[in-house]
């Protein structure tokens, strides 16, 4: 099962890289002309095309590009002639920090809340947790971000309204500059996780095994933590894998809103500037990250769910 999952990852990675590669080749306009700008003459276009390798057959170009990527070389960007790998190195830590903090925030908030709501099912705690969860799922992250800026940054001056402070300039300042963006980004995942946790816990808590254990005198907290959570973690992990995609996509908007110079903002800039090599590189990185996360969650899933180790479903 594990091997099968790993084996499937390779063609998916390949398939996505084909799509990403095709972006550049399918777009209207000639990359050589856009580099040369107003200096574009017939001769210079031919020269530039040859230098870029654009006159080679498509599959050769793809192979060359893929080979470069495997070596960590994403090529050069058309407009500033900078090495794309350098740009990625500068910006990746910011996006990773943002997504990471958002992820942690969601986990730390959602799972306890979900557990509490399940344990006190039907009560006002349960109802309010569910209501808040629905609200968080329904609010687009940048809407919360904007309202958050109004309240926490402009109104209460708790955090800066935009801009990024790198770790070198102070650990606390760094966290403060990420606090609001990460909170906004964490909402969707948080809301979904809360509900999934709650429902998974309810399923487990309502099962015969638990009722039997209760009747046999096991303490409720040990039941909750030792048995219920562990079994509930299976659907929780499945959902996490899917929702990470929304966090990754969300960084594009949140970085734009808060002026964080990460990969997400680079995608938007590259899109608007028609800087396709950069766009390709960024999207590839995001997709690879997403696939990786899903792989990890799938593997975790099989590890935690012994039944699946032997049979194969799908």
């Amino acid at each position: 099962m594990v091997l099968r999952r790993l084996a499937l990852t390779v063609p998916i990675l390949l398939g996505t890289s084909v799509i990403v590669f095709l972006i550049l080749r399918l777009v209207p306009g000639d990359p050589a002309a856009s580099i040369l700008g107003s200096n574009a003459t017939e001769q210079s276009i031919v020269k530039v095309r040859a230098a870029l390798g654009l006159d080679l057959p498509l599959w050769e170009q793809f192979g060359a590009w893929l080979g470069g990527v495997a070596r960590g070389d994403f090529g050069r960007d058309y407009i500033t002639n900078q090495e794309i790998t350098e740009q990625l190195e500068l910006r990746l830590p910011i996006t990773v920090a943002l997504a990471g903090v958002a992820f942690l925030l969601a986990l730390i908030a959602a799972i306890p809340l979900g557990v509490v709501a399940a344990v006190r099912e039907g009560g006002w705690v349960d109802r309010s947790v569910r209501a808040v969860a629905v609200l968080f799922i329904a609010v687009p992250d940048f809407v919360f971000g904007l309202l958050g800026i109004l309240l926490f940054a402009v109104g209460l001056s708790l955090v800066p309204s935009s801009g990024y402070t790198p770790i070198e300039e102070g650990y606390l300042e760094h966290l403060r500059s990420l606090a609001l963006p990460a909170a906004a980004l964490s909402l969707g995942l948080g809301g979904v996780l809360t509900r999934v946790t709650r429902s998974a816990m309810l399923d487990v808590l309502g099962s015969d095994y638990v009722r039997f254990a209760k009747a046999s005198g096991f303490s409720s907290s040990s039941i909750v933590f030792r048995y219920a959570l562990r079994n509930a973690s299976v659907p929780i992990i499945t959902v996490i894998g899917l929702q990470v995609g929304y966090i990754l996509g969300g960084t594009v908007v949140i970085e734009q809103l808060f002026g964080l110079p990460g990969l997400g903002q680079l995608i938007v800039e590259a899109m608007l500037a028609r800087n396709y090599p950069v766009l390709q590189a960024c999207i590839l990185v995001f997709v690879a990250a997403f696939i990786l996360v899903n792989l990890i969650t799938d593997l975790l899933y099989t590890v935690l769910n012994p039944r699946l180790r032997r049979t194969s479903t799908s």
Binding site: I12, F142, L146, V192, G245
Partner: protein, 297 residues
């Protein structure tokens, strides 16, 4: 109608009796109604307000700029003096149109693919599902950006982009429903009598699939509206001056300190619309299948 009857007797025992089941159904009905109210409200605003004054949403300088809500501009005006209510109405129109188009595209394509996958040989089934895996490997917004990068921006492209993002989900749901139908005894009976398996599935699949598809469709409406707003927010959606709620939010950023209403109005507008669809989806999910107490995006 077997799937919709919901809980088996065992299930009822586990959940503590019919009192809880009724409460679950009641709360899900409240959700559906509340959500429906919000969505209907948005639709009405989108249709009625432009009828009062078609040009208001793009009429530059019709009123002083940056007014707070009041009379006659109920929701205030934006930085070019245009009436915010008219712009929100137009924005709702855009969001609903694009989301509807996307959901329609995904239902058609996804539905066909799902049926095809369920009724074909495992080779074709595998091919379809693996191809969809590749599509699903892209975070939704990024895939939409890729499509916009290739085809340019504009309402139709957005519908296509978002629609394709949704296809894998609908395909899975339809395929699962078809496979579920195939397991029913009457299908086996019919095939034993000589009818073609795929024909039988097609004839009987409707009841099994309507529920899950409806649930997914409402969720997809919510997601589609958020995707369109996100794309417009970063400047990749419908071009100005067509008011899109995302675009309104984006331009409002510069004014957030001095004139917060210009940001609050579109923010609340999007929130209410997405909340509406989410509630409907939730309520439907809870009503149709109380065992599964959650909808994941």
């Amino acid at each position: 109608m077997t799937a919709q009857d919901g809980a088996s007797p065992d299930q009822t025992l586990k959940t503590g009796g019919s009192r809880l089941r009724n409460r679950a159904t009641l709360s899900s009905r409240i959700e559906i109604v509340a959500g429906g109210f919000l969505v209907a409200g948005a639709v009405i605003v989108a249709i009625v307000v432009p009828m009062i004054d078609p040009a208001a949403s793009t009429a530059v300088g019709a009123a002083p700029a940056l007014l707070s809500p009041g009379f006659p501009n109920l929701l205030g005006t934006d930085q070019l003096g245009r009436d915010q209510l008219a712009r929100v109405a137009a924005g709702y129109g855009i969001s609903l149109t694009i989301a509807s188009g996307a959901v329609l595209i995904s239902l058609v394509i996804g539905g066909l693919l799902g049926l095809l996958a369920a009724t074909s040989k495992s080779f074709i089934d595998g091919l379809i599902m693996r191809t969809l895996d590749v599509v699903m490997a892209f975070p939704a917004l990024l895939f939409a950006i890729v499509v916009v990068a290739i085809f340019g921006s504009g309402s139709e492209v957005l519908m296509l982009a978002i629609g394709i993002v949704f296809v894998p989900v609908i395909t899975r749901v339809t395929r699962a429903a078809a496979l579920e139908t195939a397991r029913q005894s009457y299908v086996e009976a019919a095939t034993a009598r000589g009818a073609r398996r795929s024909r039988v599935i097609l004839r009987h699949i409707a009841p099994n699939s309507v529920g899950p598809v409806l649930v997914q469709a409402s969720i997809l409406f919510a997601v589609g509206i958020m995707l369109e707003a996100s794309l417009s927010f970063v400047g990749l959606g419908v071009p100005p001056p067509t008011p899109s709620l995302g675009l309104m939010l984006s331009t409002a950023r510069n004014f957030i300190v001095s004139d917060p209403w210009i940001a609050i109005v579109p923010a609340i507008a999007i929130l209410l619309l997405v909340l509406g669809f989410t509630l409907i989806g939730d309520g439907l999910q809870a009503w149709l299948d109380p065992k599964k107490r959650t909808t994941a995006r």
